[in-house]
Amino acid sequence: MEFDAVIVGGGGSGMRAALQLAQSGYNTAVITKVFPTRSHTVSAQGGITCAIASEDPDDQWQWHMYDTVKGSDYIGDQEAIEYMCQTGPQAVFEVEHMGLPFSRNDSGRIYQRPFGGQSKDFGKGGQAARTCAAADRTGHALLHTLYQGNLRNKTVFLTEWFAVDIVKNADSSVVGVIAINIESGETVFVSSKATVFATGGAGRIYASTTNAHICTGDGIGMSLRAGYPVQDIEMWQFHPTGIHGAGTLVTEGCRGEGGYLVNKDGERFMERYAPNAKDLAGRDVVARSMVLEILEGRGCGKEKDHVYLKLDHLGEETLNAKLPGILELSRTFAHADPVKEPIPVVPTCHYMMGGIPTNVDGQALTIDSQGNDEVIDGFYACGEAACVSVHGANRLGGNSLLDLIVFGRASGLFIENQLKEGISHSDAGSDDIDFAMERLNKINNSKSGEKAPVLRAELQTIMQNYFGVFRRGDYMKKGVEKLDELRGRVENVYLEDKSNAFNTARIEALELQNLFETAYATAIAAEGRTESRGAHAREDFQERDDENWLCHSIYMPGQREIGKRPVNMTLKTMEPFEPKVRTY
């Protein structure tokens, strides 16, 4: 099979990239392990943060840029953030023109709600309302709209196909992937002039996560196995409001609409931790405050292991209009009706800020022996799998959907131009393909060992216990030791059922190894970054250390120590934002 461009992943960024290329008439395929609208983008609730100046006609994308840089705790690349915030409105209007059913305000424009970390006038003008919403189902609306756009433009969907590993040619260019047709079990080399990883996150490395079962870091695993680095992979966002016990997400939009958190005494405790922004401080700040409340004995419930999100004061009418999905989720998973009672919530793993380092055109980067960036020929990444990096150490709510459409689009545009100019690389030889088949062959020939679900549960427990909201060097060292012990067992995972037709046990074994690689990189990078910044909070290094760590971490596969890569601090349109103490 041969295509101009192959996109691995049928979520928001993958389908936006595919749309760009299919529209321009290029032979484009999307390899997706689930039917595209089952991708995890569908679970995004609150909205797309973007300065379209609907709620506030004076809103400026530069203010959004300031908030994002500050939110990132200053290790987001300012060039990429500038590009995202400036291009954002166009990307949002495009999906509206494609039919995305945004909620509307009185003047018929797109409805925008307040979200955490948003300000006017570079932090000086109070809370902004910048998140473009389709009720509390924005991800669903976006994903379906993008799928529809791709249907219209005849994108080829290899639906329920699973990408196993990267294929490189003799010149070390990426020339495609090995993929399994899940339904038939057939294994194929899908060759492509441009290979785009839009494989999403890996929240399933933790025991408690808002992420779908399918978020297993497949792109990260494949990329690391191919010898490429990941960046800032220690940076995992714990969303303040996952439903206690179930882990399902409750949008920050709840607090944007006026909801707030209370402890067992009914106290609105965020007033103590963030006197100005209160419940709409950065997610890392809110999540840590919640954990502190719980650790200090002010948690709710019998075990005092969660806090409450109060919404009942907003009234049934507002809740029905603005947060209908949340009412459903809370009634189903928390057995609590938010119209009458608070929702039990706890910080829950939500988002991977790190990923495959790329430039703003989506080109994946590696680091050469001199420590310089080097573009990997034929290889691109966008969305949560990529680290471009607009989120740095902490992502702001609503910026992930913007990231998807802006950088999905940017990757598509760049590849389109490359294709126009002509891309040619030498074919992969049979050795190259055999090399990429090794892992799958090993699993297919396994005769003994442990089952994937058992090993997965063990991995998730290690990550939850040793690399959670608060981190400590000695704990993390122990965690790394445990992972070292687990590695061999994961590499020798046993596939009992060798059948071909829709064998999901085989897929889960392959996914387990991707989870493991992602988790291992996380562990090494978390242990290596000896400071606290954004989502990475260390008890043994409580301060941000700009002298040593105002930089990206780079994890190279096989290494036990992380490298450093400078943060891009150049803006095209104005002076860059210098690091300041981050308060809300």
């Binding site: 379209i52 023109h97 059913p101 509307r104 003047s107 424009r109 529809q148 998973f333 059948s499 829709f502």
Partner: protein
């Protein structure tokens, strides 16, 4: 102790499908049916089903649970177990690939047939197309469809004519675009539906409404389309 009876069929090993009983201890918890399936898969890795979001928004895990179509991830045991027995079968009416996984291509083909995308050939404005709150409200109850196929596979008309009758899910989406003030292809859409099968095979028995896990009402949408078709014909 529960008995979980699951439909099994592996085309490579089984001549015919069969029901397999698993004893299951829920430890008194009101688990979701998907949690039960996940636990059974640890015991028997060859058990196959689809799943993704596990919160009722992706539409992967539509199955027939004790006789009623629904999503495994948001159906609690308390709603599904009768006389200590839980019966899980694939959604009815479409070919089975393996165990609980069905071949949904006919369902998706009907969705594609209604041109499920915005058609408006006028040059878009620089910003968004405006839409009043009242007009936007017309899309509520339509755009939320998750394409799980619970409705269409509960519909006898769809079982009978899956190639010609669009089915409740596809028609709900057809109306989602007919109702959108930003879409200008009303005429073309209605013409496409103006045959004896696409819409008119609906006999209003409302199985679709009864099973929709998102609480949507395809029958009502079909009623609106019928009215539009009749007006259009006059």
């Amino acid at each position: 102790m529960l008995t979980v009876s699951v439909y099994r069929y592996n085309p490579e090993a089984d001549e015919a499908p069969y029901m397999q009983d698993f004893p299951f201890d829920s430890e008194g918890k009101d688990l979701m049916v998907l949690d039960v399936l996940e636990k059974l898969k640890v015991i028997d890795p060859s058990l196959v089903f689809r799943r993704s979001c596990r919160e009722g928004v992706c539409g992967s895990d539509g199955v027939n649970i004790s006789g009623k179509n629904g999503l495994a991830c948001i159906t609690p045991l308390s709603e599904a177990v009768r006389d200590d027995k839980l019966v899980i079968r694939p959604l009815p009416g479409l070919p089975v690939v393996r165990d609980l996984v069905i071949d949904m291509s006919q369902f998706y083909a009907q969705y594609e047939k209604i041109k499920p995308y915005m058609m408006n050939e006028s040059a878009p404005p620089e910003k968004e197309r405006l839409q009043s709150q009242e007009d936007r409200a017309k899309l509520d109850g339509l755009y939320e469809c998750i394409l799980c196929a619970c409705c269409s596979t509960a519909c006898p008309s769809f079982w009978w004519n899956p190639d010609k009758f669009i089915g409740p899910s596809g028609l709900l989406q057809a109306y989602r675009f007919l109702a959108d003030t930003r879409d200008t292809a009303t005429e073309e859409r209605l013409t496409d539906l103006q045959d004896p099968f696409s819409v008119f095979r609906c006999h209003g028995i409302m199985n679709c409404v009864q099973v929709c896990p998102k609480g949507l009402n395809p029958t009502k949408a079909i009623g609106h389309i019928r009215t539009m078709l009749v007006k259009n014909a006059l």
